[in-house]
Each structure stands twice: as structure tokens, then as C-alpha cells.
Point group: C2
DNA sequence: GTGAAAGCGCTAACAA
DNA sequence: TTGTTAGCGCTTTCAC
């Protein structure tokens, strides 16, 4: 691989001059520029970015940690941050932890070692203590989907409890009272919060919480299938199922349909997240809007404000989920 | 941010020693190691990776370009490469071009500038000429989903034409002859190849190709909706629709269903790619398996073999799609 | 086992 | 406008 020296030699100029034409950081005669450019592509020269910033302080790269590249939920987040970063002339690196605490930590460590200017971390398995240390040292590190005591101004998250509450309340308002819940088997905060929202909605309506109506499964379509099967095997009565997320809802719907249980005629179902898929299920799935893109944008904006030393108060931190009515919930009161 | 110097000073040793304990590249007394480690986390020191490799030749990073982070199709690819890379102790950087030729080029350029050891490029808009130049200079650059003349040994791709042929042939074998096709509006090779497969299957069966039965749309659910609407408005007769991909099929199914057209009773439908979503549509979608993961693994393996100077002949390059029968195609001959 | 010092490829200050 | 040179933070010889 050719270096700046090679280019300089071939063009008959100094490395400084080459550097100048590359970054056009100062005036250069058309002839020298020409000579340099020519040498440059004759040698197929590509400046090594890592060196570019080694002499200076900064790096112009934003780092991000997510759980899983193949999960469209994160895909959406990454896309938004990527495009925002590009707009600011920064590049993006994203590391995935795949639901493993050790890897999650390594992801963050790697971003620090790569000297990212901004770090947006979706980390769910790291202990508060460790995370606190990272946050304290990385001034432009933002947490997404997590509320860390002492760093509220750098946390962006959804009101998960409120979202689930909204979902279940919607079912109740439609006359449902025997409401099953498929929760996420992952030991993470939002799983717990959503579950609490379910319980609160029930309590508020004076409906007895029945533990037998709650099953735990992976937050995936497969999980939804298993959850629905478990629910059917219980032979408990229920007229509706609330799910941890749309993926589970998709799986559950498939199983119900396989068993000739019609949605929403026989059983109503409600999801969470408003994943792209939810609009294309049959029937189109009623769900809770999770403004992932807006949250990701906000996280990036906060990070940017920090490194630009601008006011950071403008950005939203906690996001409110909203109900998206489609066709998977039946109004029992009408009959 | 603390540097290796700071650590050395605090630990009362030389930078060389610090470097040694960090990489444990040579024996060090337990006491010095202890002192260094202590200084290290007292200062919250994280070695700057970019510098680590600046003195040497290599970088231990693999780069990848894709079209869109939010597309699960690419998410799957990225995940596989990520995990393979991690297994080899390498890290991954991925850049997305978002269906823009300029950005696509920039993505590759960036990976080169970051000195990736292996580059896996999914690039569809770059001209052969330009790509040839990159391939010639980057010996461990692999193309995915593209066949570039002269570099066949570094191209991994699917037989798209064969896949679409398979899909349409399946419809024909089930007694269909009025078969509509929703093609991708993107000007890319695989869109063209899949379309050709459709035409060839028709021709081979002696069915007249009817241009009026072909509509063009985005390779997304929205595109599928538009495509299906267009098809319905044409008021042409058809008993089946073959789609460019599963996303389009999902959108098309929703529209048909909205119009009380039953699948597969009234209209059969077949997708392409076997995206996760396809199993959860109603009815479960018959589609063509696109072994993205296997292809991505193979691409990485080829890259790895190249930098390891190992035999590269072992890996598969062209992948064969297979039919996945589910419930969206009706057998007309049975009636 | 450890340190001094050269070198990696680049930028930026300072001279010319 | 251009060249010289110090320096960025790290690794790696080569002595000791």
C-alpha cells in the first residue's frame, strides 16, 4: 500500500504538500495539485485515516452498540444514526453484543479504544456500577433505552411501562377482562417494565391478576409461537393476548390461525413496537408505537451537542408510546 | 484521555513495559505487571487501537458494505460476518450505501482508508470498470451478489435467474398459466435476472409472455402494495403472482386480503428470499430460499483464506436457490 | 526482565 | 506557495 511519502516522491514534492492537496487545507498551485493528484491515482493511494487523526485529538467517528444486527428494531436505529452522522461528516461504527454481558462490555471497550467522539450505547446487561464508570469517563456517551441514576441527562428511553399499560387498557376498554400476556424471557429492564404496565392496567380496572395467564418466551416469532402454544395448552379462558413485542405477536397469530382460532373474532391480540411487519400481518396488527427512530436521532443530537459544547437541554429524553389501532382487537361490547 | 506514557510514568516503568503487559508479548515480573495494571485502571487507560497497528502492517478489521442497515436481509448478512470475524479475533465495520452510487463508492473508499484486511462488498450500482480497479488493488476484497468478469474467484452470488425460474415453474406445475409478476424497480442485476427467470419459465412451458401482467415496484412491502393495486386495476386475468421478494409479497397479500381476494383460493402468490417474515404471513408464504447466511460465511472464508495465504478453492461461490413450499400456492389441477 | 530509541503515516507549526 | 521537522501513541528491535 502506497504511503504519502511515495506520492510525494513521485510527484516531486514534499509530504506536506501532498497532505495539503488531499485535505485542501491551504492554497497550492494548480500545477503541483495536478502533479500530486496524478501521482496519487497512479499509485492508487488512499490516505490512512487512522493516522490522520493520530496527530490531532479527535476522530470524527461515532460508535454504537446494539444487541443484534439482524433485528430490524436495531437496524432502524442504526440507519437513523448512520444518516445523521453522515450528515455531520462523521462515520459510524456499530458493535453488537448479541445478548451476552461479556460481549456487551467488549463492544463498549472497543468503541472507546477506537476513540469514538460520540458513543451511543444500547446496553441492557451491564451492571449499573460498571456502566456508571464508563459514563463518568466518556463525557459524550449516551445511553439508549436505559435510565442510569446520576446520568439522566444522557439517557434516552421509552416509557415501556406506560406503553404496555396503554395496550392492555385498550383491550379492557374493548370489553376484555381475561387477558393473557406473553412476556419476554430476557432478563432486562424493559421486559419487566412492560410486564408491570400489564399488571397495572389490570389492577386499575379492578381485574384480578391471574399468573396462570402469563407465559414467558423469547422476544421473537418463534417465542410467540411457543407462548401461544403454552397458552392454548393451559386451557385457561382468555379473550385477548398482549405481547411483549410484535415479533411474538406474529408467531402467536400464526399458531392461533393454525388452530382455527380466528383473530380477532375468537381472540384479540395486541403487539408492541410497531415493527414494519405489523402492518402486513393478517389481520393488520394493533400495536404500540415505539418511536425508535426519533429516540436514536435524539440520542445522536445530544451527543453532538456535547462535543460541540452546545446546549443539551433542548433534546427529548423520555419518549411516550402511542396506540396504533388496526384490526387485531375486537370490541366485545358491541355484541 | 490517558496515554501509554501516563501509565508508564505512574507505574514507574517505561512505555515498552506497559506495552508488554497490555499485549502480554513477553515475560514481565508479577510486581511490574501489578504496578502497570493498577496505574492503568487508575487512569482509566484504554489503548488506542488505531496506533496499535500503525507501526505494523495489518489492522485486524474486516469491512463490509451493504445497501441498508434497516433491511433484515442485510442484517442477516452482517450478523454472520460479524460473528465469523469475532471468532477470528477481528472486528467488523459496516458501511451502508442506501441505494446511492456515490455513497456506495464512498463506503468502499472509507473501508480502504481504514485499512481493512478483508473487504466484503455488496455493491450493485458501481460500474464494472471502477469496481475492477478496486478489486485489482485490494487483493482480499470479495464481492457478494455480483459477478465481475475477471474476478470470478472472489465473487459469491446466488443464481437469481434460476431461483425465479424455480418459483414460476412451481406455479406452472400447479396448473397456473396466467401468472403476474411484480418486479423490482431498482436498476440492479438481480432484479433483471429474476425477471428473466420468470420469462424463461413461461417460455419453456409454452406460455405466451404477457407484458401487461408485469408491474414494477420498490422491493418493499409498500412496493408490494402498489404492485398489487396496479395489477388489480389492470383488470387483467391472473391466478398467481410471483414477486421479486418476500417483502413485496407481504404487501401484495395485504392488498389482496383487503379486497376480499383469498390466498390461495382466488390468487396464489410466491415470494423470494425466505425472509423471516415469510413464515408468519397468512397464509404462510411459499417462497425461494436465499441462503444469505451461507453466502456471507463463504465470502468471509474466502477473504480469510486469502489473507492467511491458504487455499481458496474450497469455498463455494455460486449458490443455488431452493423452493420452500408453504401455503400460498393453490394446486389448480386438483379441481 | 526492562529501557532507549527508531519507526509507523500522517498533520501542523514554523521557516523560507 | 512550499519544505523541514516535531509530534501524535503505539510497537518493536536492540542493548543492557
Amino acid at each position: 500500500m502506497a504511503t504519502i511519502k511515495d506520492v510525494a516522491k513521485l510527484a516531486g514534492v514534499s509530504v506536506a504538500t501532498v497532505s495539503r492537496v488531499i485535505n485542501n487545507t491551504s492554497r497550492v498551485t494548480p500545477e503541483t495539485r495536478e502533479a500530486v493528484t496524478k501521482a496519487q491515482d497512479e499509485l492508487n493511494y488512499h490516505p490512512a485515516v487512522s493516522q490522520k487523526f493520530s496527530s490531532r485529538q479527535d476522530s470524527e467517528i461515532v460508535g454504537m452498540t446494539i444487541a443484534d444486527h439482524s433485528d430490524p428494531y436495531f437496524g432502524q436505529m442504526v440507519k437513523v444514526v448512520d444518516q445523521s452522522a453522515t450528515k455531520e461528516g462523521m462515520s459510524l461504527i456499530v458493535n453488537a453484543g448479541y445478548h451476552d454481558a461479556g460481549r456487551e462490555r467488549q463492544c463498549i471497550e472497543e468503541l472507546i479504544q477506537k476513540r469514538c467522539r460520540i458513543i451511543i450505547a444500547h446496553t441492557v446487561l451491564l451492571r449499573d456500577e460498571l456502566l456508571t464508570r464508563y459514563m463518568a469517563n466518556q463525557k459524550s456517551m449516551i445511553l439508549i433505552n436505559r435510565k442510569l441514576p446520576g446520568f439522566e441527562d444522557r439517557c434516552v428511553y421509552l416509557d415501556d411501562e406506560g406503553g404496555a399499560y396503554l395496550a392492555v387498557k385498550h383491550l379492557i376498554q374493548n370489553g376484555h377482562s381475561k387477558i393473557a400476556y406473553i412476556r419476554s424471557s430476557h432478563q432486562i429492564a424493559d421486559a419487566e417494565m412492560r410486564f408491570r404496565g400489564y399488571v397495572r392496567a389490570l389492577e386499575e380496572a379492578g381485574i384480578m391478576f391471574n399468573p396462570a395467564l402469563v407465559v414467558s418466551a423469547d422476544p421473537t416469532p418463534q417465542g410467540g409461537e411457543q407462548g401461544a402454544e403454552a397458552l392454548l395448552n393451559l386451557s385457561q379462558q382468555f379473550t385477548a393476548i398482549a405481547c411483549y413485542n410484535d415479533m411474538q405477536a406474529a408467531g402467536a397469530m400464526a399458531i392461533l390461525s393454525d388452530n382455527d382460532i380466528r383473530i380477532p373474532e375468537h381472540v384479540s391480540i395486541i403487539g408492541f413496537d410497531n415493527t414494519a411487519i405489523s402492518r402486513y400481518l393478517h389481520p393488520r396488527l394493533t400495536t404500540i408505537m415505539n418511536p425508535v427512530s426519533a429516540m436514536a436521532m435524539s440520542a445522536f443530537a445530544i451527543g453532538l451537542a456535547i462535543i460541540r459544547e452546545q446546549d443539551t437541554k433542548v433534546q427529548s429524553r423520555v419518549f411516550t408510546p402511542t396506540l396504533i389501532k388496526r384490526f387485531s382487537v375486537r370490541d366485545l361490547r358491541a355484541f
